[in-house]
């Protein structure tokens, strides 16, 4: 079978065997995940949007529907962190919702919109780390004051940036790649999340060109109640 072995070796000629980089793995694990919502849910969301466009009064608010959507969404993903608390809506618009939940991998945040639903868990922010379930040592040796996503959900012409800040943080600003410094809305975590961290979100209307640009966030800035910069987290 020498010929077969040669053929197999030929398939992997020039393999990047010296490119191992654990730090890159850790950095990737912190990034926001994007995932397609199952087609059936996307269809339901599209139908709701049609009702809204036609001026039909929809008795059930989008936020409630998104809670249901996310409930089903995570239930079908056995590899997701295990939820150990209810899904809690933090804030919402007419076609999106920011939803938090506690998991065995720390606090999780879903940015729920029709069609896609980015979420992340276990942010390296003091107060938002591993929960009582415990999953071993934290990924990051030192938890900071804030952490957030890059641009997500740009399909509706608006980009969204969201994340978590420690309770000491009074203001969060986002430094964009084009140099703009934008304010975010900051919310105390609802009691059901059983944490004192704060959650931030900003939705930006972008130009046609910017809509196609990935990696639009340069840094997150945290300020205390006296307006002093207490942390700048480059992305």
């Amino acid at each position: 079978m020498t010929d077969l072995h040669e053929a197999l070796d030929g398939l992997v000629r020039g393999a990047p065997l010296d490119a191992a980089d654990w730090n890159d793995v850790v950095a990737r694990s912190r990034r926001v995940q994007r995932r397609r919502v199952p087609r059936r849910l996307a269809l339901a969301a599209a139908l709701l949007a049609l009702f809204a466009l036609a001026g039909t009064a929809v008795a059930v608010g989008f936020g409630i529907n998104f809670l249901s959507q996310q409930e089903q969404f995570h239930a079908k993903q056995p590899d997701d962190p295990q939820r150990i608390g209810p899904l809690v809506q933090i804030t919402s618009g007419h076609d999106w919702a920011l939803i938090g939940w506690r998991s065995n991998d720390g606090l999780c945040l879903d940015f729920a919109v029709p069609h896609t639903s980015p979420f992340f868990c276990g942010l390296p922010v003091r107060g938002a780390g591993s929960s009582s379930a415990g999953t071993g040592a934290p990924i990051h040796a030192v938890d900071g004051f804030l952490s957030g996503s890059n641009l997500v959900g740009v399909s509706d012409g608006k980009a969204t940036i969201f994340g978590v800040a420690a309770s000491e943080v009074a203001t969060v600003k986002v430094e964009l790649a084009d140099g703009r410094l934008v304010d975010t809305e900051l919310f105390d975590a609802p009691p059901a999340l059983r944490t004192d961290v704060r959650l931030f979100i900003v939705r930006l209307r972008l130009g046609a060109l910017e809509r196609t640009v990935e990696g639009g966030v340069h840094a997150f800035l945290a300020f205390d109640s006296d307006g002093r910069l207490i942390e700048r987290v480059p992305v």
């Binding site: 053929a7 191992a20 590899d79 991998d105």
Partner: protein
């Protein structure tokens, strides 16, 4: 048996010890080293992120193999199965036995191909391959037998 939560250090240890096996197996599947590296990095990142969901019903390495192979399958889907069309093209132009065998390897049904790759590049046992692919060990044996049969026909055709 008391269950112990998986720590990042557990996953890092497997990464450092088995990096080459993962990269080679995924590269054979995707046909591209750069993509293979990206898939392995992404797969381990996903394992790190989702380590809380590991149920210790099998080995940690087997669980990571499943995640990495799922990322690789997603990548193949994203590429619209370009690998298959490339292989057919390569087969028609190839002149040497090595080229032809490579074409036949990548044209094997996915399960057979993965079983061969995991056996050869990662040196996994039948049980470990079964765990990585989510199938029974007996199915692994059957897949490897079928793959060898398909490849043997080509080898015999040349050797006789």
């Amino acid at each position: 048996m008391a269950l112990r939560a998986v720590s990042p250090a557990d996953i890092e240890a497997i990464y450092r010890e088995r990096f080459a096996a993962f990269v080679l197996s995924v590269m054979a599947l995707l046909g591209n080293g750069e993509d293979a590296l990206d898939v392995v990095q992404e797969g381990f990142a996903r394992a790190l992120r989702q380590r809380g969901s590991f149920r210790a019903e099998g080995s940690l390495e087997g669980w990571i193999w499943r995640i990495v192979l799922n990322v690789a399958r997603d990548r193949l889907r994203d590429r619209g199965r370009a690998l298959r069309s490339v292989s057919v093209e390569a087969q028609s132009e190839s002149e040497t036995l090595g080229d032809d065998l490579r074409s036949r390897l990548v044209a094997l049904p996915e399960r057979q191909r993965l079983a061969v790759f995991l056996r050869y590049y990662a040196d996994l046992s039948y049980e470990q391959i079964a765990e990585a692919l989510g199938i029974r060990p007996g199915t692994v044996a059957a897949a490897l037998h079928a793959a060898h049969e398909a490849l043997r026909q080509k080898l015999e055709g040349v050797e006789t």
